[in-house]
Subunit: 184 residues, 2 copies
């Protein structure tokens, strides 16, 4: 199995395709991001890499709050729209039905099956991007996405982003249980 040296690349599979929400200049704004991951469980926190010039980042800095919204695959067009057009030029406040939670300033997307409401705890300047780390203050899930009281990824039907080909994919079939299939 021959290995090719590819130079330093920002490749990872899979990546999520999530919508980062922030209130900017008094209005909800949403941008698409793929560089996002859970960062800790005590306190529950999440990181997202935002380019310094992003309009969304203005709102994050102003309110010190943001949201991470997981769209389902049927939201692919609107999700991509939010990655193509900047809130600097396009008002994105009316694309989704939004609501506010505990923090009052982090707009959440009603249509997204899963929403994390976050309060900034760190900014890490990494050059091209600032890694924003937020404590997850509350989680909202659409009732139809629960099975036996637990989040059900099949019902959530999340969007997946693949770099290289730059495509959106759906989640494929389950092939095993974690912390189980590898036990000997």
């Amino acid at each position: 199995m021959e290995k090719i040296k590819f130079g330093p690349q920002t490749l990872l599979y899979p990546m999520p395709a999530i919508l980062v929400g922030a209130k900017v200049n008094g209005k909800p704004n949403f941008m698409t991001a793929a560089w996002c991951a859970i960062a800790a469980d005590k306190p529950p926190s999440i990181s997202v890499a935002l380019r310094e010039e992003r309009y969304t980042l203005e709102g994050v800095r102003e309110n010190e709050t943001f949201s991470i919204n997981v769209p389902s695959s049927d939201m692919v067009k609107k999700t991509d729209y939010c990655g193509v057009y900047s809130g600097k030029k396009n008002d994105k406040s009316q694309i989704f039905k939004t609501f506010y939670g505990e923090l009052k300033t982090a707009p959440l997307i009603q249509e997204c099956p899963l929403n994390l409401e976050c309060k900034v705890i760190h900014y890490l300047d990494l050059g091209s991007h600032t890694l924003v780390v937020g404590e997850i203050i509350e989680t909202y899930i659409s009732e139809y996405c629960l099975t036996d009281g637990k989040a059900d990824p099949i019902k959530i039907d999340p969007l997946i982003y693949t770099p290289g080909t730059m495509k959106y994919h759906r989640l494929g079939e389950a092939i095993g249980s974690a912390f189980k299939i590898g036990k000997v």
Copy 2:
């Protein structure tokens, strides 16, 4: 569409199921992680959240290097094994065929279609976890995973982890092109 408040939860979809490699006490060691994302593109960097007591973290701190290895779905058992058993008790140095690259101390997994070789640039203490941020020094890709000189996610066939159900999934069908399907 009723929303349920779920309390602060570390839920995000999808998550990768990657193998973090480090040389610990002179031997390659690998642990499974899902809390990993690209963090910046200049310099190309990646973050991974590691619990403080992880054996792998000892090696990361000792050498200031690590690897991120993306397994394909047929590696599900070995990948899960590396998440279930700690290198403190189980020698995981012989599970995979390993190689070293530029940095000399970050073990890379030959069988994994994609490998990122990383040098630590930040440690961010987040409580339960340390967020390790590494600059990507080199990327290795298995030749059979290229299409027209680009990384092909279908050929890579990455493992996907879903919290809640705690399952491994495969990548599903492509449903659109990013930066295109949302253009108006």
